[in-house]
Subunit: 405 residues, 4 copies
């Protein structure tokens, strides 16, 4: 493949080994200026400390660090949560939800610095390449896209380290790295190593954030979440921003071993992979939102919300965030969430987050209707007629069959 | 409402207070012979001990006890499990799945004894009346149906006890009964009492089967399930019938506090109710089946299975078992389950059942494809073309928008 | 059933035989003041002429006529059309879409006159009773509802006429009325008579609006519709209000026999019925909207729009307009319709309305991409990679199977 | 791209220009034996006449012609029809349904002759390449696949003709061919030429099978179809095989201009294209099947069948025939079709096929239930209770809202 002509490229830079190699590689192979872009999505202090200097040392002409934490939770995670999205029944989409906002911010940097290309460090076997490039196609179809992992010949960490050493670019990365990890405020994912055989159980190394449930406190702890329009607005009596609520709940959840998932999933690119995901605060929030929905959504609305969740999980996982279809599904969920107001107490204990108390001013639950023998709203005799009409097709079908005999 | 004319009625008899009242009430009010029918669906020894004598003592002319345990698991529960059905995201349908087989067996008894009517003891506010009468409409539209709770004036346990006392019918039922419970081999449900206020947490009395997770063993325990065509065929190396596997796993699960659910749900009859459900073995089985699916189902198949699960949960909950639609959904799930073969190890610990190891001869997971840089089946350069075509509509849409500016 | 206590009731009055009987019947049986409410939804001049005097003559204390035509098309029909709703694949929901706005306006009149009850003239076997009472439950749960057809003993037109004659209430209704009809600006429905046997073909009497296609002009005629955000905004070059566009297209369509449907459908109340529907302008509009969608919606969006159409058809037919679920589905469709802009030429000929030309500034169709051998956006070699990844699960599955042999 | 090593390849041969070029091109570029395979799917006498000699003259070592007509209708079309599949609301999938059986037969020939590769003549911009290669991946993942159009440099008919002339291979193809066409027993598709601008109306040349509705007979004609388990088994009183029934109805339909569709559709490969489709017999069959369903399917079953139709259309169009998901969807439809028995009269007139009479022994329609004031099965008073329970959530929600004011 002949290389495209590039003047200035903005690379999504993480400070890790591969993106450190990408900077000099881009300069050498495309003879272009390289601008580093770092998205702060809550991956943590150690990941970000000194990252600008590191980027410059690797050869970037500039390095932009953008704090996307509040926006990510408010504009990407919260709308997704209203759909109830949970990929293949388990995965809370931590990596998936972060990609669109990173791509969008990267495009903004490209526009600002007048770049004509975008570059990411995703491998050619994963979902993230599709998510980044899908977003780029929607937001900046005029910009070229460079995906070094699909282009270069480097195939191991050792070769990458050699590459940097030959160029005297300092790098603190170790030669062996057993697991591939991705972290943000919502989750931490782990792939590789022992996980590559699905018949292997995980070991302690596979988990990097949450306490092992078996080592978690013997005493349960309770948190109380206040929900408005399908979003957490306060925890334990204190109003919090979306991001701050998440951080607070992450700490509580992690302490009690909440939110560990070990899953084999279908990647968008046709293969399966196994990942361990830790989503401590997110797991608590999901339990809380679903619990308020139990009080508020009627039967058919709840069923549709479940269908929206299945759909939204696919769309978000598949990198279709910036599409009319995703907007449509989110709009439907937003509408259903209008009444999702209430308060929930969640018990945290040895890996579990379980709602123990729930209430809502919009609750359709009524002690009176559900239990008393007689009330004004519900008359038991109504059931007679309901059942007759409800089962009428079965009756006619059976009568038909009997007549034919 | 003028009473219909009835000669002989078969009543679904449980041995509890209400059905004990129903027998004499039917005789007095319909001047008919009453045949008692007891379905053994695994509700347990104490519920069934001496039940025939009790029915006769209450005035029944005959009492049929039918053992439906194996058939229930094999013909009703297993097909439902293949769909992944879980009502409103939580409830494993324990009561719902038992109703169709009970109704079907009741109709068979009615045919055998030449009855012209069927009677059940469900209240006028619940789902079970619809499930029974929906099944009756499909299976025996010619038989009359009597639902005493929608007809008589008795509104309290006290009145029911008085009713029996006046007629010298012995009854060991207590005057107070806080909770309403339903048990079978799959689950035990609890409603009423403290649960009636959704802001009340459950207390120890709300749970009658499983150990409190906080009292469960401090040591985790592991069970290994072998799955063939979406059904558990062996546990811990031993081939078992569907019912026996369930019993075995119930004991393991109950010991570790597995399978407790506290949910507010939408009843079919328009109101909400709160229930505590204990499904120890079932929760383990669901985790195992879903885990094998992770290995075996491709992306679009998995998504469809999730949609089938949402649909099937509604159908089963709503008493639509004996309908063409339910048959259709079950047939679709049966087809998908053809490849769902494998083995799963489940860890039981303090209320959780979590798959830790899984394998399958049909696994689409391949360590080689997922991880190596290069292989014969997956070439990273393929991703280029995939992404271009995959995101083509986004690209054209964005180019259109740019052109319009 | 003991009658509820009513002071003042607002009755949805049509001027026809049954609602003419209902007025005196309400006064006699509820000893209350009766206010007539007439909704002008475009049912036509002859239906509405002199209707106020007629209502008063029948005993109403007042009669309110409200012109709902523009609001019905703009606020009820247009949002529904964006979903593509077509009940059971055929029926364009003419009666269904009119009911919610009539019920809402009736409640407004009730509030204005201080009524404590609402009354409708729907029979006990149809959908409309559910649509009216469903809307009343959502909008005015405090008001009582009277449904005379489920209450009184009158069972024939003759008895109704006798009832009026005994009370000296003038009525021009004839003793025989073969068909039951419902008309508004969107459609005219016909039930009964010869249609009651599904093996009877329709005859000329079954159709009351459109020209028989066999009698329609031998020359085709063309209309050009301009669509913005999924709504018709101009026809044949002239900007029109939603209602005026519909009237204009009704005339064109009716002349060419467009929009006749003869269907057996499932009523909400469990039975089937047969209806002939004439929707001349609506059929043209549907063809136009779907045609613009062909240009604008991408593959997955189009599929979702089709699913929304199936859902919305059920919701609207089933009288669930004023529910969160309906709002949610409409919001999703509204979002998808944002790009549905364009122009369509429709050919009208002998019963058919067929789009012959279509264009849109938002079109994703590109002559260049679709046909040329090479272009900048689409490179044929991309297809290689796409197909490999797309069919990867099939390949792995087949390799697995081969390995097992 | 380096060429793979091939010994013997089976090419899907049509006798047209491109596959005539492909045979010598394969021999030259892969230095391999080329076996021609011709699928007779009802494309017609002129397409097939002398085709074996032509293949040999072009350089094929052998030519296999397989008659797939009955199998295609019975095993591929009929199962699809039960789902109601209609791609993007219009297209009856004529090309899509033929591809899997052709690919399957081609694989069978490859196995028979010991070939190690398969070749098709589909372009790199279309759906068919995905359909063929998707089937190959599922049925013969070990065989290599050659797609000349994605490989060679020929870009015009002229170059193809020159290619043959240089090699002295006779060819009767003309230098200009305005339209690209695909024909089989079910349909004939036309793309290209004047159709490439969506604002162009079609002209007479765009249609190659059916009579222009404006030239069709002025007298309507009627056909009667007998349907069993969702399949046409007899027409006009005569039992016919699936293929023969289709041929018979094609003739009738074509004569009356039935089954013309002009659509812009989303291709699987991300772009849109426009096609004219003629499906005369198929359109009649669809109308007949959907009409029997109107009598037989209850409300929820009908809705599910519509959802299955949307899904199946995508699967078939997208070349996913040989997948577990497709099997699952077909199994669901097969189940629903069990009761789809009946008889339908279809009126053919000036481009329309409209059911005028229908009946079924399984009909859930009952004149008695739908019309009389009173009957044994349906009591109008039942509607009271039905509506109360049906609208209970709306009522509670509205009462809640009122209480909050």
């Amino acid at each position: 493949m002949s290389k495209v002509n590039v003047n200035k490229v903005v690379v999504a830079y993480s400070g890790g080994l591969d993106t450190s190699v990408i900077i000099p590689w881009l300069k050498e192979n495309y003879d272009c200026e390289v601008v580093a872009f770092v998205a702060d999505v809550g991956q943590g202090y150690y990941e970000l400390e000194g990252i600008e200097a590191k980027a410059i040392a690797s050869g970037a002409s500039e390095c932009y660090v953008m704090d996307l934490k509040e926006e990510m939770v408010a504009q990407y995670i919260n709308p997704t949560l209203k759909t109830g999205a949970c990929y293949e029944g388990k995965y809370l989409l931590g990596t998936s939800m972060a990609r669109p906002i990173i791509a969008k911010a990267q495009v903004e940097v490209a526009r600002k610095v007048g770049a004509d290309a975008l570059c990411h460090g995703c491998t050619g076997k994963g979902n993230d390449q599709v998510r980044f490039e899908g977003a780029f196609a929607a937001l900046a179809p005029d910009l070229k896209v460079i995906a070094p992992w699909r282009e270069w010949d480097l195939v191991s960490r050792e070769e990458c380290l050699d590459y940097l050493e030959e160029r005297n670019i300092p790098c603190s990365a170790s030669i062996t790295k057993i697991y591939s990890r991705d972290a943000n405020a919502w989750h931490l994912s782990t792939e590789g190593g022992v996980l590559e055989d699905t018949w292997n159980a995980t070991n302690a190394d596979c988990w990097a954030w949450t306490v092992d449930p078996e080592q978690a406190p013997n005493e349960a702890e309770y948190v109380t979440l206040k929900v408005e329009k399908g979003e957490v607005v306060a925890v334990d009596g204190e109003a919090m921003t979306p991001y701050n609520a998440l951080v607070y709940l992450n700490e509580k959840g992690a302490k009690h071993g909440v939110g560990r998932i070990d899953i084999v999933e279908n990647r968008l690119v046709g293969m399966k992979s196994r990942g361990c995901y830790e989503t401590p605060g997110g797991t608590i929030i999901m339990e809380a939102l679903r619990s308020v929905e139990q009080l508020v959504l009627d039967k058919t609305s709840f069923e549709f919300r479940e269908e929206l969740g299945v759909k939204a999980a696919q769309l978000v996982y598949d990198g279709r965030w910036f599409t009319p279809l995703c907007n449509s599904v989110l709009a439907a969920a937003e509408e259903l969430a209008k009444d999702v107001n209430g308060e929930v107490v969640i018990k945290l204990y040895k890996g579990q987050a379980m709602a123990t108390q729930k209430r809502s001013d919009n609750s359709l639950y009524s002690e009176e209707f559900a239990t008393f023998g007689a009330d004004e709203v519900y008359d038991q005799s109504h059931a007679d007629g309901f059942i007759r009409l409800y089962s009428l097709p079965s009756r006619i079908r059976a009568l038909n069959a009997a007549n034919k005999k």
